[in-house]
Structure formats: structure tokens, C-alpha cells
Amino acid sequence: MTSSAGTPRALLSVNGLRKLYPVGRKLLGRFGRTQPAMLHAVDGVSFAIERGETIGLVGESGCGKSTLARLIARLIDPTAGMIWFDGADISTMPARKFARSEWRADIQMVFQEATDSINPRFTAARAIADPLIRLRDLRAAALRVRVEEVARLTGLPAELLVRFPHQLSGGQKARVGIARAIAVEPRLLILDEPTSALDVSVQTVILKLLHELKQRLALSYLFVSHDLNVVRLLCDRVLVMYLGRIIESGPAVQLFAAPAHPYTQALLSALPNPGARRTRIALAGEPRSPIDPDPHICRLYGRCPRATDLCRKVAPLLQQIAAGRLVACHHPVDEMAAAGP
């Protein structure tokens, strides 16, 4: 077993996880059979989340972050691969059944698009109460107390609880989504862009709340975000995704200080960072198609400033370059060395 699968005691561990979607018209396959073109949304992902650990998941828009999040939250079924939660294999149970299983309360998700995830006929209070009723069997006064408590914790003014989604602003709806996910006190909380609709003030409230819950309840988080500053503040470890694959992972501090993959380096170079000697690296060229990608070509090939002939003949595998650090690249950047002593 590779180190990416984590320790045996990991809260969550996934191995070789894939999600492919058939798209468009059928193409003629070998032997005259027809086979649909496949979009590789998540393509062979392995990693683990320890108890009380916060993992950041970053990457370009469309690279597969939400799909990975939904697979782990067991809202959709994987095409292949394993998901273990607390030692149990949860990857084979159909998503429909999972919704009624004992695990549902343990793994909760905050959705990227709050508008789509809240029932338009539910008031904010009813939306937050829903998982408490279904999964924690809370009723009457106890229910009301808990709903008001989580609303307060997430900075959602009490007077908004009687409103319907269309009567709330974007950031207000986002807080309803967060409140209802934390209400049942899950063991793993998956947050898909939870702060992107929030202003800095509310964002601060939420980040401090997440930090506090982690301290108090040893909650684990998978935190999907394009806000690298927030990831740096909150996460212990970071996974970088590119076109369906994890291309780099490592402790947040190290990864931010010295990104090893050319894509990570380009991504971080866009961050204003007065301390570093970094200049902005723009990736030129077109991104490769996620539809039937050539398994022998590195997915960054065509945009990568470090590419050689090897990169279009052999796709690089995720390999360890230092303790706890994995990179999928034939020519990783050694920034520590490049920057000199």
C-alpha cells in the first residue's frame, strides 16, 4: 500500500477513485463496437484524511474538485475505486441507500451552489432543521434551540430564519448551507467553496468557527477552495488537482513555501507574496480535453514550461519526493535549491 492511502487508522481513505461520464455521441470503437466518449472527471485519486485533520483541495475550475467531494460524500457512485470511512468500505453502497444509512450523519457536505441545495419551499429554519429531524431525531423545543444555536454560530441573523431562499442574499444562503451541515456535528465535513460567497467579515466568523469545532470535536475537513489564502490559514495538508488527478500533495506550509509541480508553482505565483522571490508564471496554451485523455501524456503537457519529450510519451505517476510530499511530474521544481541557501 502506498503512503498516499494513509495510516490504517485514518478516518477516511480513498484509493484509485474514478468517476467517468459518458458524453456526446457514440464513437466507433475497436472491433466495430460503439463506445461512448468518456469524460474523466476524477481519474485515479488516492489519499487519506486523518482524524482532526483539515485537507485543502485546490485546482483550476473544472478539474474535478466537486466531483471528488460528491463521491466522498457518497452523493454519487464511483465508476471504480475504494472509499473507506472509519475502517468500513462505503464505496459499494449505492448513493440512494447511503442517504438512509448510519453514515449519513457522519459525513456532511456544504455545497458550492447554496441556491441549488436548499429546498425553495423551506424557510431557512426548516432547511437547517431538516437534517436534525431526519438524522438526529430532534423535535420541538430541542430542535428550535439547536437551529437557533447554529444560526448564531454561523453569523446568520435570527430574523432571517423565517425567510425563504429567494428572500435571502447570496451570502445569507451560503450561511444556511453551512449551518445545516454543522448542525448534526458530523465527523467528516466536506466544504465545497464555502466562503466564496462571503465577505471577509462573515468569512472570518466561519473560519474561526471551523477552527473551534475542530479543536472541540476533532472534526475532519475536506476543504475545497480557490481562495489560497484561506487554504493556507486553515489547512494542515493540501491536495492539488489537475484534470481529474492529484498532481501534488503535502503539508500546507511546505507546499506553499516550495511548490514542486509546475502547475502548483504557476498557481501560487499568482498570489501576491512580497516575501518570496517569485515572479508570476502564466501558463500559456490550451488545457487538454477531459474527454478521453491520452493515458500516456502528462495532463499539463502543452501548457507546461518545463515539458520535455518524455512528458508526452509517459504520463508521470504520483511519487514521493520528500517525507509527506508527493508529486506527479518528470521534472519537479526544486524551489528550495533554486532560491539558494
Binding site: E60, S61, G62, T67, P157, R163, G171, V202, V205
Partner: protein
């Protein structure tokens, strides 16, 4: 009649005057906007910033005439020489999506769920330009490439549910730009996008603003983004426009206490979680019958009794700024 009227070059493209919006709800009247005034010139990029719930989206919806039916609106919205609030739904429909386009904050719900995205963009193009169906289809694919959808030719056949959040946002942007509007209202257009894609998309919009003399109202809670792309910034708080100023001046010398706090709250580089601070207090309950004249007064360190009792003073200064405060910095 000559249209546009001869003097419209001089007049602002959009003038919002004393806009008031109230929503009647089961639990009382929400005073979402009060006394909002600003204008926008041809080719200008202006930002509307402020906390969540401050009234940014409601302002956009009021301009476009797409508010909830429970809304009561008063004031004036003059766009391209025509008053929109009194224009009928038919006239508004013609303006919307041709001269006036919006990128919604929740893009997926704004797209047609049962039509491929390439067709949706082509529909817009066909409606606006004199292009054949085939040309529209091809231009649509080009638009998808411009907003950096990989493999645009094949992805044009995708339905909205087959796209990621950020991809929906970019399709929405492509559709809004396809109709070559005179004014684009962009409500948090890049919130779902990583920084690299965000830079590419904002660059594309800025390019079109310059080449077509398009105006843009950028709604965002990201002050850095507003500063980077806009020449003026309007700051909203609890339904009031509290300050309006050229970008440089706003950051150099904020005059409204709220603006100063907003700028100070922006996360600095390398600051730890414990160093982040929220602006004290929250937006007041907008249903209250006893809302103070200045809706920031309960959070303000400079408050005096007359800030509450009012009336709210709006001060226009010589350097082209406006501040709604009795004791500006």
C-alpha cells in the same frame, strides 16, 4: 424621433436616482434599499461593494426590473435616455439582454437546464446579430474558447448539469458578452473561479469594455478585485450607499467609517487566523420600524445622537466623492 437623442453622448449611460426598495414579507417590511443614487458613464467600470446582505444584488435587480413581486420600488433609473422603472414589461424585455445584460450570482439556475450550452449562446447571437444559424453556432464555440472551456467544440453539446460551478459561471459570462450590451452588470462574476481563470475572465471583460466602449457595474465583496479593474467604487451598507469615490482616493483616504473598517478588515498576507478580525456588529434588522437615520450608527465608533435621529446627510465633495456621514474621517 431621433434615437438616441442627440445629447445622450453627454448624459451618463445609467443614472440611478433615489432608489428605494421594500419587500413585504409575512414577518414585516424589509427596507432593502433607501436613497441609492449613482451614475455610470459609457465605457466606465464601476464597482459596488459591501457586506453580504447590504443590497448589491437588489440594486442590480431593481435596475433590470426583475425584482420579486413583493417589492415596492420608487425612484428613477434612467438608462440610455429612457426611464426604466415606469417602462412596461414589454419595453423592459427588449432592453434586457440587448443593451443591458447581467451575469447572475447563481449562474446555474439562470441557464436553461434543458438546452445545450452551445445552443444557448448561439440563440443569443442569432437574436442580436445578423448571422446565420451556422455562423451563430461557430461563434458560440469561439465564445466558449474565450471563456476558457477546454475542448469547446465538444463541450458545446453539454447541458448545464454536466458542467462545474465555475464553468456555468463562464458560460453565463459568454452569453452576456455575446449580446454586446452597452452595460454589463456582473454580480460576483468570478467568485467560483481559481485565480488564474479569474484573471483570464476579468481580462476578457476589460478588453471588451475598452474595445466596445461597454460599461460595467461590477458587484463584488472582493475589494482587491474592485480596485484592480474599476475606476470608481461605491460602498453599500444595509441598503444605503455610504460612500462613492474614485478608487485611488477611496483606498488612500476613506471618508466613511464603514469604508475604513472594510478596508482594514481585508486579510493581509501571512496574517494568522487569530489576527483576522470581523467588522464589529452586524447589519441591523431591516424590518425594524425604528431604523436609525444612519444604519451604521449602531456599529460606529464616531457616532453622536444626531446620527441616529437624522436626517442622514449626504455630502458631495469637490474631488468627486460622496459620503453619507455626519462625521466623515
Amino acid at each position: 424621433m431621433a434615437w438616441p437623442p442627440p445629447d445622450s453622448r453627454m448624459a451618463p449611460l445609467l443614472a440611478v436616482e433615489d432608489l428605494l426598495v421594500e419587500f413585504h414579507t409575512r414577518s414585516g417590511t424589509v427596507r432593502a434599499l433607501d436613497g441609492v443614487s449613482f451614475d455610470l458613464r459609457h465605457g466606465e467600470m464601476m464597482a459596488l461593494v459591501g457586506e453580504s446582505g447590504s443590497g448589491k444584488s437588489v440594486t442590480a435587480y431593481a435596475i433590470l426590473g426583475i425584482l420579486d413581486t413583493a417589492a415596492r420600488i420608487s425612484g428613477r433609473v434612467v438608462f440610455d435616455g429612457r426611464e426604466l422603472l415606469s417602462a412596461g414589461e414589454k419595453a423592459m424585455g427588449a432592453v434586457r439582454g440587448s443593451k443591458l445584460a447581467i451575469i447572475f450570482q447563481n449562474p446555474r439556475t439562470a441557464l436553461n437546464p434543458i438546452r445545450p450550452i452551445g445552443k444557448q449562446i448561439a440563440d443569443v447571437l442569432a437574436r442580436h446579430g445578423n448571422v446565420t444559424a451556422a455562423q451563430a453556432q461557430r461563434l458560440g464555440v469561439e465564445m466558449l474558447a474565450k471563456v476558457r472551456i477546454p475542448d469547446p467544440k465538444r463541450r458545446a453539446a453539454a447541458y448545464p448539469f454536466e458542467l462545474s460551478g465555475g464553468m456555468c459561471q463562464r458560460v453565463m459570462i459568454a452569453m452576456a458578452l455575446a449580446c454586446e450590451p452597452a452595460l454589463l452588470i456582473a454580480d460576483e462574476p468570478t467568485t467560483g473561479l481559481d485565480i488564474t481563470t479569474q484573471a483570464a475572465i476579468m481580462g476578457l471583460i476589460a478588453e471588451l469594455v475598452a474595445s466596445r466602449n461597454m460599461a460595467m457595474l461590477l458587484i463584488t465583496h472582493d475589494l482587491a478585485l474592485a480596485a484592480q479593474y474599476c475606476n470608481r467604487i461605491a460602498v453599500m451598507h444595509a441598503g444605503h450607499l455610504v460612500e462613492l469615490a474614485p478608487t485611488r482616493l477611496l483606498f488612500a483616504t476613506p471618508r466613511h467609517p464603514y469604508t475604513a473598517n472594510l478596508i482594514a478588515a481585508a486579510p493581509g498576507e501571512g496574517a494568522g487566523l487569530d489576527r483576522l478580525s470581523a467588522i464589529p456588529g452586524t447589519i441591523p434588522d431591516l424590518r425594524r420600524g425604528d431604523l436609525p437615520a444612519c444604519r451604521y450608527s449602531e456599529r460606529c465608533e464616531r457616532v453622536t445622537p444626531d446620527c441616529r435621529t437624522g436626517p442622514l446627510l449626504r455630502l458631495d465633495t469637490a474631488d468627486g466623492r460622496r459620503v453619507a456621514c455626519r462625521h466623515p474621517l
